[in-house]
């Protein structure tokens, strides 16, 4: 059996779906951020697979930018989590309904 692009794409899709499901069912904000990282990794895998298939380095460049954005997102997200959990220890995403109106 030969490993084709479709295999990588299916693996990326599986990672994306597992991450998205975790984002929906977990209530701990830290684990939710980790699930976002899983989703980003699934997409990165697809980008690299297409980059290889099409022989274009642009896909790898996009992955580089996704890494930078992921790092910035984690920094700001964890800053928010620290600020929220310092005020109300043990809070979950369901408790943050102050803006519900």
């Amino acid at each position: 059996m030969e490993v084709t692009t479709g295999w990588y794409l299916v693996l990326g899709a599986l990672l994306f779906v597992i991450g998205g499901t975790g984002l929906l069912i977990r209530r701990n904000p830290l684990v939710m951020l980790m699930c976002v990282e899983l989703m980003l990794n699934g997409v990165n895998l697809s980008f690299v697979a297409f980059s290889r298939t099409l022989g274009d380095v642009g896909g790898q460049t996009v992955v580089f930018f996704v890494l930078v954005v992921a790092a910035a997102e984690v920094v700001v997200g964890l800053g928010l989590v620290v600020a929220i959990l310092r005020r109300q220890p043990g809070t979950t995403a369901d408790d943050l309904s102050a803006l519900k109106g």
């Binding site: 030969e2 599986l14 684990v31 297409f50 290889r52 800053g79 369901d94």
Partner: protein
């Protein structure tokens, strides 16, 4: 044959790690499982000759982002086990199930339907070939994508400033606000 074996082993590592992130009750275990997934993805990058991205994946993700997660977990002391069943919104479980099955079905159906998606167009960012990918990536990054590259530096500065502002102690913020009011 070796390619297939590497793919299967790394894919199993990725998927077990991903399921571990979602299903582990302890956030520390989730973070460690995330490292496992990231290493699996790095192996997949190497298998597709994206060596630079594999190195960056290990250094930035496993070395910086996960360590940041672990720092925050330890700092806040939230490293205790939590039930997976706590406080679901009524429709949330079904929404998650619908999202998972629906999006997976759509994506896999698309992949199977399209097959090998080659458009035949010329590569815009430089063709991957026999030369090393670092050289090609650098040329692409500093020529075609140079504005985006500069914008990411701006993004990183904003993220650092935002993080510092967010995690300041509330008392200091109040003092600054009072001081500003006093001056005005």
């Amino acid at each position: 044959m070796v390619d297939t074996l590497v793919f299967i082993v790394a894919a199993v590592v990725c998927l077990v790690g991903a399921l571990g992130v979602v299903l582990a009750r302890n956030p520390v275990h989730s973070a460690l499982m995330l490292v496992m997934t990231l290493f699996g993805v790095a192996v997949q990058f190497v298998a597709q000759e994206a060596h630079f991205l594999a190195a960056v994946q290990v250094i930035v993700y496993a070395g910086a982002i996960v360590v940041l997660f672990l720092f925050v977990i330890m700092l806040l002391g939230v490293d205790r086990a939590q039930s997976l069943e706590m406080s679901f919104l009524p429709v949330q479980r079904w929404a998650a199930l619908l999202f998972a099955s629906g999006s997976l079905a759509v994506v896999v159906a698309l992949i199977l339907a399209v097959g090998e998606p080659v458009t035949g167009l010329e590569a815009m960012g430089g063709a991957l070939g026999s030369t090393d990918d670092v050289r090609l990536l650098a040329r692409s990054l500093f020529s075609d994508y140079v504005y985006a590259f500069e914008l990411t530096s701006l993004l990183l500065v904003i993220a650092v400033i935002g993080a510092v502002v967010l995690v300041r102690k509330p008392r200091e913020t109040d003092a600054v606000v009072a001081e500003d009011r006093g001056d005005a």
